[in-house]
């Protein structure tokens, strides 16, 4: 108890492990550098900000790698901030996804007369928030990290200032985000009120069954999860996603659907594994409902979409549903949390690759067609076979067709389900299976459009793909295919990422 009361004993200089903080520090330096560059460079040389941002992100990856090589778990600030394998993997995921988003943005932003420097600045801020999120094991840190990654994103969603849709996207995202934060904060306050601490491991010890009045704990857990359910766009907290995705600049949509969502899941994982691990009686049913609803609604509504981005929005909602499935199996049957965590991490990694890839193709294609309609992809195969093949790869990977990466992700989900082996989890598994067939329909319909339909207006001028986009496509495509064929290493990441407290070990 005394250790928790530093104030009573006077100020004790906290131990700071700079190696552990290096990724964030490098990111911060990059943020400042981008700002300065934006001030210094004139309009013609603004592209340099993107280069700086990209380098910054890559630079931040270096300490992530050295930390991983070092291997030791680093715990700071009384357990509020931890750098372990899980944190490192999630940071690597955020940073690589962020890098790909920067690659996607270069031409999009550069050619669109948007504020380029500030754009990259905000993107990096958001990445910083995510990076912090990966290590947070404390409610306040999680909250701050969440807002840091969200608030720049609210603004980025409205970055196409003259487009009302973009404004609207920003507004909706912002309002819903604030609402969700409010609910989450209320839940956090309840948890704090019960346990007297914001550190997750302490909370975990304080909310075991029978320790306190149950309803308040239940409501606290529930509200906190709602806050992140919003972030991962789980139904019924998903409603912002389609509109925001459609209206936001496409690279930002990619960012939101991948990095931001992944951050949500990372936070959820930490909360559930470290904080709430003993209370699967509360969150497992909640995740069950969320997962079932999310998969079903996401897929079914996606069937009726005509706008490709909007369709992918619903698709990413549905994908979030699959990722929620392992959460619903936690603490059920023989599920010891190991395979569920592996599944979540694996899914996030694969999902990042394939979804970013799909958006990269959309960006490349819409550079020519200037349209977001699915029909604008008509006959793509005949004039841009490379893009069509890549898009096909990404879409069918999302659908989970072997040997593309998506299958191993889905596979680990099913494995988590069967590991639990209870009736409820099996039902969820079947819902997931049925959903993956429904999903196939709309993924296939895009493929159909590209391969089997005529070219609209018979405009067969080839598409020029800028270098940065090509790199992004290359990274994502290689990742998607290689993960599918040799899934060993990616699943190994998932397996490595044991969380020290709770289920792990």
């Amino acid at each position: 108890m005394l250790a928790l009361l530093p104030s009573m004993l006077g100020f004790i200089k906290p131990h700071i492990d700079y190696h552990a903080l290096a990724p964030e520090i490098i990111l911060t330096v990059a943020i400042v550098a981008v700002l300065v560059a934006d001030l210094v460079f004139d309009e013609r040389r603004k592209w340099a900000t993107s280069t700086i941002a990209g380098l910054g992100v890559l630079g931040a990856l270096v300490p992530v790698i050295t930390l991983a090589a070092n291997g030791a778990d680093r715990v700071m600030f009384g357990g509020a901030y931890v750098v372990d394998n899980f944190a490192l993997i999630s940071k690597a995921l955020f940073l690589i996804a962020g890098y790909v988003v920067i690659l996607l943005s270069i031409n999009y932003i550069g050619e669109g007369d948007y504020s380029e420097g500030e754009y990259h600045f905000l993107l990096l801020c958001s990445l910083l928030g995510m990076s912090v999120m990966g290590s947070s094991r404390d409610l306040i840190t999680i909250f701050v990290a969440l807002e840091t990654l969200s608030i720049p994103a609210y603004m980025l969603a409205g970055w196409r200032k003259r487009d009302l849709k973009s404004n609207e996207a920003s507004m909706k995202y912002y309002l819903l985000g604030v609402f969700a934060s409010a609910v989450m904060l209320y839940g956090m306050s309840l948890l704090y009120g019960v346990t007297g601490s914001t550190v997750l491991s302490t909370i975990g010890a304080g909310i075991t069954k029978g320790s306190f009045s149950q309803p308040i704990i239940t409501l606290g857990i529930l509200f906190v999860i709602v806050g992140f359910a919003f972030k991962v766009s789980a139904v019924p907290f998903h409603s912002w996603a389609p509109d925001t995705y459609e209206g936001a600049p496409t690279p930002i949509t990619a960012f939101l659907s991948v990095a931001s969502k992944a951050a949500g899941f990372v936070a959820l994982t930490q909360l559930v594994y470290v904080g709430f691990c003993s209370r699967s009686d509360v969150y497992a049913p909640l995740f069950w409902i969320l997962a079932a609803l999310t998969m079903t609604v996401g897929n079914v509504v996606a069937l009726r979409q005509t706008n490709i981005v909007r369709m992918l929005a619903y698709s990413s909602i549905a994908q979030a549903g699959y990722i929620l499935v392992p959460f619903a199996t936690l603490g059920q049957g023989k599920q010891d949390g190991r395979s569920a965590l592996t599944s979540v991490i694996t899914y996030l990694l694969v999902y990042a690759a394939m979804n970013l890839g799909a958006f990269a193709v959309i960006i490349a294609v819409s550079r020519k067609t200037r349209s977001g309609e699915i029909s604008s992809f008509g006959g793509l195969f005949s004039y841009a076979p490379g893009l069509a093949v890549l898009m096909t790869v990404f879409l069918f990977s999302l659908a989970g067709i072997p040997p593309l990466g998506g299958w191993i992700a889905k596979f680990t989900v099913f494995r988590a389900v069967l590991d639990a082996g209870t009736g409820w989890s099996l039902v969820l598994g079947i819902i997931a299976a049925v959903n993956s067939v429904i999903a196939l329909y709309y993924y296939a319909s895009v493929a159909k459009e590209m391969w089997m339909k005529p070219v609209p207006d018979d405009d067969r001028t080839p598409i020029k793909v800028p270098a940065s986009l090509s790199i992004a496509l290359g990274i994502t495509a290689v990742a998607t295919i290689v993960i599918g064929i040799v899934p060993n290493f990616i699943v190994r990441f998932g397996e490595l990422a044991h969380l020290t407290a709770g289920f792990g070990k």
């Binding site: 009361l5 608030i151 609207e168 209320y186 007297g196 509109d243």
Partner: protein, 100 residues
């Protein structure tokens, strides 16, 4: 005095704000209602802090919330202005160019 006095007051503020955000059309009023909610949370945090000897975590949390709330309001108003410039209206229920 009972701790619940503070907590219930906070709950009331929360729900009033909740009503506000759902019922008010004007975006600025919605933002004001959000502030009600956040303040309710802060009351909670500070009140809960009294349950634990010498613990100021609640207060610290409240401070962070205040800071972030300020940032949020700033951003929110910027977005409202953005919309106002393009649409000359800040009624949130008129924002439905995307749906379905």
């Amino acid at each position: 005095m009972p701790i619940n006095a503070f907590l219930l007051l906070a709950a009331f503020l929360f729900c009033t704000g909740l009503y506000g955000v759902l019922a008010r059309r004007n975006a600025v009023l919605v933002l004001m209602s959000v502030e009600l909610i956040l303040n309710a949370v802060n009351i909670n945090l500070v009140a809960f802090g009294t349950r634990f000897q010498g613990d100021v975590t609640g207060q610290v949390f409240a401070l962070f919330v205040i800071a972030i709330a300020a940032a949020e309001v700033g951003v929110g108003l910027a977005i409202v202005l953005l919309i106002h410039r393009n649409k000359s209206s800040i009624n949130v229920d008129e924002l439905d160019s995307m749906k379905g």
